[in-house]
Amino acid sequence: MGKLVAYRLLFAVPQLLVISILVFSLTYLVPGSPAAAMLGTSATPEAIAHVEAQLGLDRPPLERFVEWFGALLTGDLGTSFRAGMPVTDLLAQRLPATLSVVVGGIVVALVLGVGAGVFTGTRPGTLADRLVTGGTVLGLAIPEFWLGLLLTTVFAVQLGWVPIVAWTPLTADPLAWLRGLVLPSLALGVTGGAIIARQTRAAMVTSMSAPYADTLTAAGVPRRTQIARYGVKNALVPVLASTGVTFAILIGVSFVVEKVFALPGLGSLMLTSVIGQDFPVVQGVVLVTATLVIVVNLVIDICYGLINPQARPQ
C-alpha cells in the first residue's frame, strides 16, 4: 500500500507543477496589458507602469516564474489588487464555506447515488427500476442553482424552516453549521447523485450477473449478503471513478450554488475577481481548486487500491 501512495504522489507532483505553470502564464494571455485591463480605461500611464512593476510584468517571464513559484512554495500567492490583502488570507477566509458545501454535496451525491444505484441495479427491468432510473435522467438535467432557488423559496422563504442566510462557521456553532448546509448540499448533490446512480446501477447489474455471483448463489450464500458484500464492493470500483469526476464538477457548480444561499465561499471571491480582473486572486482560486481535485483524486486512487488488489503496484 505504501508503494501505491508513493507512486501516486509521484504523479501528483508533476501534475501540480504543470497546473501552476498554466496558472502563472494566465496573465500573459490577457490581450494588451493586464495592468491596463485591471485599472480600466481612465488609468494614467504612470499608474499602469506601477502596477506592471508590481505584477513583475516588466521582467523576463522565466525570472518572474522562478520568483513566483518560490513564493508559492512558501504559501505566498501575491496580493489582491482589489482588496489589497494577501491572496492566501482571502482564500483562507473563503475556503471553509466552499469545503463545507462541497463535502456536503458529495455526501448527498454518494448516499443518493449509491442508494438508487444499488436499488435499481438489483432489480433491473422492473417498474421500480424504470421509475428511479427515470428520476436520475431528470436529476442529470436539473440546473443545480435553480433547484437551490426552489429549495430556499419553499423551505426558507415560505415555510421558514431554515434561515435564508444560512452560513454559520463550524467553529461558531456546529449544529447551526449543519442546519445551514442541508439545503445547499441537497441542491449541489442531486446531479452528482444522478451521475453516480447511473454508474452504480450499471456496475451492480454487471456484478450481480457475473460468474462469481452464480458461484456464490449456487454455494448457498444468501442474496442479501451477496448484494451487501460482493455486489457493492465489486461495483465500488467504477463508482469511485465517477466520484472523482463528480467531485471536480461539484467544486465548479458550488461556485454558482453559493450565490443562491449567500455562502461566503470561493465562488463569490472568484466572481468579483473575474469581473474586476483581479488576476492574483483568480490564479489563487484556480490553484486551490485544482489542488483540491488532485488531492481528492489521489485519495480516490488509494481507495481504489484498497478495494482492488490488482491496482496495487506489486
Binding site: I19, L138, W146, T215, A218, A219, G220, K233, V293, N308
Partner: protein, 648 residues
C-alpha cells in the same frame, strides 16, 4: 459540469455509423417515445428561437415602469421583471440565446477537441503519451473554472462566452476521438489502406471520421444540454452576455433577488432549462441506442435463432437418416420419429441404465424427468432449448453430460441449480434432488438446497471468484451461510477445505486474491467453495475446459478422488470426449436439446447405439480409437486420461 460520464465507455465504442444504417437508425428512433419527446422539444425550441420576434408580445428589453414585478397579468402572462420587462418575451428570446451559445460552444469544442484527438490517436507514440498526460492534467481543472478564467482574461461578450464554454468541453471530445481513432487505427482495414498506398489524410478523413460520426453525434447532443446548463449558470452569475441580452440564467438571477416577493418568477426559466437539457440528453441516449441497438438486437436474434436452427448442422432425424442410408444399422423406424421425449432411445439400453423405470429409486440423488426448457424471444414466441430430457444420477456416480455447444447441456444444469438466465424458463417436467421437487421452487426454497444439496463449478476459473475479495473471505462467507461458525472456526474450516482440494500453503493462500492463483488453483478453490456446504450433488459445468491439458487432468483426478472420499453424485458437463471418457461412469449425449443416448462409458465409446453418438466419436479419432485399444498404447494426453478412467 459535463454530463459526459453518463455515457458508458462501452456505449461510445465505434457504432459503425455507416450511411446505410442511417435510415434504419431513424426508423428505430421513431419508435422510442422518450426520443420522440426529445425531438419534439428540440424542434419547438428551434422554432421559438427562430421566430422569436414574431412570437414575443414585447421586445425583451422593453421596460414598463408602470408595472415592475407585476406577477402574471393579462398583459404579461408570466409577469414582469424589476424594470417591467415582459418575462414571456424574455423567455422566448432566451431560447435564442441558449441555442446559439450552446450550439456555438459545442462547435468550438469539436473544432478544438476532434483534431487533437485525431492526432493523438492516429500518431500514437510520444504524441499520444504526452498528449494523454496533458488531458489527464486538464482533468484537475473543474470545467466551470476554465470558463471563469477565459471570461476573466477576455471580458464578457458573445464570442468570449462561446469560447469559454467550448473550452470546457473540448477535452471530452479530444478524449473520445482519441479512443475511437486508436481502435479504428488498429483495425485491419486501416492496415490494408496503408498497404494500398492511401495517404494518411485520406485514411483519417475517409475511414476514421465516418466511424466517429455516430459517437460524435451522441456526445454533441449531450454536451448541447450541458452547455445550456453552463450558459445558464454563467448568466445567472452575471458573467454571460450583457445585461440587456435576455437569457434564462439571467432571468433566474433577477428572480433570485426577488425570491420573497415574486417567488413564481423562477419557475418558467428553470423549467425551460430543465426541459431543454433533458431533451438533449434523451436525444443523445436515443441516437446512441439507435446506432448501437441495431447491433445488439440483431445479435440477440441470431443467437436465439441459432439455438433453434443452426444453419450448418443437420437435425437429429437427418443424422439418423444419413446414417441408416450409409450402413443401415440404425432403426429405420426412427428416421421419422418425433422428438424423443424419454431418455433411452437406444434399443436394449433402457434395461441397462434403468432410467425408464417409473419408480423413483431412493438411490437417485438427482432425478430429472421430461425437463423442457424454453427461451422467450423478443417477438413473444419461444424457442425450445431442451426437449423433455430425463436423467438420473446415483450417489457416488459420475454422469457425463456430453454435447456440442448449444446442445442445451449447460441450460439443463442451470435449470437444476435454479440459475436460468432471465427469459429462459423450465416449462415442463420435474427435477428432484434427494426426492425433493426443485422445479417451480421459490428463491427461498432453492436457497435451502443450494450449497448443502448441490454445488457447482463453472467454466472460467478466474471469473468464478470475486476479484476484490480474498479467497479466504469467500470461503468463510459460504461456510457461514450454512453453519453457525465463528470467524475463527470458519477460517480453520476454510483452511481444511483448501487442503482437501490440494492447495498448498493454505494459511498464506487464504489471504490472497483470485488473481494470485493460476487457473488450475483457482478452479480448486471454486471446487472448495462448492464443497463447503457438503453437497450431495456436484455439478461441473465445463469446469476444466479452460485449463491446459495437464492441469485439466490434475483437477479431474482431484474430482475422482473427492468422489471416492465423499461419495457424492457428480454431473460433469463437457464437450470434450476425452474428459468424459476419463472421469465418467455413465455418459448422456445431448444433441440440440434432445437426449440421444445414455450408456455406461465403456459401452458408449465401444458400441455407440445412436448414429449421432457414432458421428461424434468418429469426429474425435483419438478418443474413439483409444477406447478400442486403451490398454495397448497411449500417445496423447487424452489417451492417458482414458487409461486412468477405464481401468479405474
Amino acid at each position: 459540469m459535463s454530463n459526459a460520464v453518463i455515457l458508458d465507455p462501452a456505449d461510445r465504442s465505434p457504432a459503425g455509423a455507416q450511411a446505410r444504417g442511417v435510415a434504419q437508425a431513424w426508423h428505430r428512433l421513431r419508435r422510442q417515445p422518450s426520443t420522440l419527446f426529445a425531438v419534439v422539444v428540440v424542434a419547438v425550441l428551434v422554432v421559438v428561437a427562430v421566430a422569436a420576434p414574431l412570437l414575443a408580445p414585447y421586445a425583451p428589453e422593453a421596460t414598463d415602469f408602470d408595472a415592475p414585478l407585476s406577477g402574471p397579468t393579462a398583459d404579461h402572462p408570466l409577469g414582469t421583471a424589476d424594470l417591467g420587462q415582459d418575462l414571456l418575451s424574455q423567455l422566448i428570446y432566451g431560447a435564442r440565446t441558449a441555442l446559439v451559445v450552446a450550439g456555438g460552444s459545442v462547435l468550438v469544442a469539436m473544432l478544438i477537441g476532434v483534431p487533437i484527438g485525431l492526432v493523438l490517436g492516429y500518431k500514437g507514440g510520444w504524441y499520444d503519451r504526452i498528449g494523454s498526460r496533458g488531458l489527464d492534467i486538464a482533468d484537475a481543472l473543474p470545467g466551470l473554472m476554465v470558463g471563469f478564467v477565459v471570461i476573466a482574461i477576455l471580458g464578457r461578450g458573445m464570442a468570449v462566452l462561446v469560447l469559454a464554454i467550448g473550452l470546457v468541453f473540448c477535452m471530452n471530445f479530444a478524449r473520445m476521438t482519441r479512443a475511437i481513432t486508436l481502435t479504428e487505427r488498429k483495425k485491419l482495414y486501416v492496415e490494408s489502406a496503408h498497404v494500398s498506398g492511401l495517404r494518411e489524410r485520406q485514411i483519417v478523413f475517409g475511414q476514421v471520421l465516418p466511424n466517429l460520426a455516430g459517437p460524435l453525434a451522441v456526445q454533441a447532443a449531450v454536451f448541447l444540454g450541458s452547455a445550456i446548463k453552463v450558459e445558464a449558470a454563467l448568466s445567472f452569475l452575471g458573467l454571460g452576455l450583457g445585461d440587456d441580452q435576455p437569457s434564462w440564467g439571467g432571468m433566474l438571477g433577477v428572480a433570485a433577488e426577488h425570491q420573497a416577493d415574486q417567488p413564481l418568477m423562477a419557475v418558467a426559466p428553470g423549467i425551460a432549462i430543465l426541459l431543454t437539457v433533458l431533451a438533449f440528453n434523451l436525444l443523445g441516449d436515443g441516437i446512441n441506442d439507435a446506432l448501437s441497438g441495431r447491433r445488439t438486437t440483431g445479435r440477440r436474434r441470431t443467437a436465439l435463432l441459432g439455438r433453434q436452427r443452426p444453419p450448418a448442422s443437420p437435425t437429429l432425424a437427418e443424422v439418423r437418416a444419413a446414417a441408416s442410408a450409409a450402413d443401415g444399422t440404425a432403426d429405420v423406424a426412427a428416421v421419422d420419429a418425433p422428438p424423443v421425449a424419454t431418455a433411452p432411445v437406444g434399443p436394449g439400453r433402457a434395461a441397462a441404465d434403468g432410467d425408464a423405470d417409473d419408480d423413483r429409486s431412493d438411490a437417485a440423488v438427482l432425478d430429472v424427468r421430461d425437463a423442457t426448457i424454453v427461451a422467450d424471444r423478443p417477438d413473444g414466441s419461444t424457442v425450445t432449448l431442451v426437449h423433455g430430457v430425463s436423467l438420473r444420477v446415483r450417489r457416488g456416480e459420475i454422469l457425463g453430460l456430453l454435447g456440442e455447444s448449444g446442445s442445451g447441456k449447460s441450460m439443463l444444469a442451470k435449470a437444476v441449480l435454479g440459475l436460468l438466465p432471465p427469459g429462459v424458463r423450465l416449462t415442463g417436467g420435474s427435477i428432484r434432488l434427494n426426492g425433493t421437487e426443485l422445479a417451480g421452487c421459490s428463491e427461498r426454497e432453492l436457497r435451502a438446497v443450494r450449497g448443502t444439496g448441490l454445488g457447482v463449478v463453472l467454466q472460467n476459473p478466474q471469473a468464478n471468484l470475486s476479484p476484490v475479495h480474498t479467497v479466504g473471505r469467500q470461503l468463510v462467507d459460504v461456510l457461514r451461510a450454512h453453519h453457525p461458525l465463528s470467524r475463527r472456526d470458519a477460517r480453520a474450516r476454510a483452511a481444511e477445505l483448501l487442503d482437501l482440494v490440494g492447495v498448498n500453503d493454505v494459511q498464506r493462500r487464504l489471504d490472497q486474491y483470485p488473481y494470485q492463483f493460476s487457473g488450475g488453483m483457482a478452479q480448486r478453490v471454486a471446487i472448495a467453495i462448492a464443497l463447503a456446504g457438503e453437497p450431495d450433488l456436484l455439478i461441473l459445468d465445463e469446469a476444466t475446459s479452460a485449463l491446459d491439458v495437464t492441469t485439466q487432468s490434475q483437477v479431474l483426478d482431484l474430482v475422482l478422488d473427492l468422489r471416492d472420499r465423499l461419495g457424492m453424485a457428480i454431473v460433469n458437463i463437457t464437450h470434450d470426449l476425452g474428459v468424459a471418457a476419463e472421469t465418467c461412469d455413465r455418459v448422456a449425449v445431448l444433441y440440440r436439446g434432445e437426449l440421444v443416448e445414455v450408456a455406461d462409458v465403456v459401452d458408449l465409446f465401444d458400441r455407440p447405439q445412436q448414429p449421432y453418438t457414432a458421428a461424434l466419436l468418429a469426429a474425435h479419432p483419438t478418443a474413439d480409437a483409444d477406447i478400442d485399444t486403451h490398454d495397448t498404447h497411449h500417445d496423447s494426453h487424452h489417451d492417458s486420461h482414458h487409461d486412468a478412467e477405464v481401468t479405474a
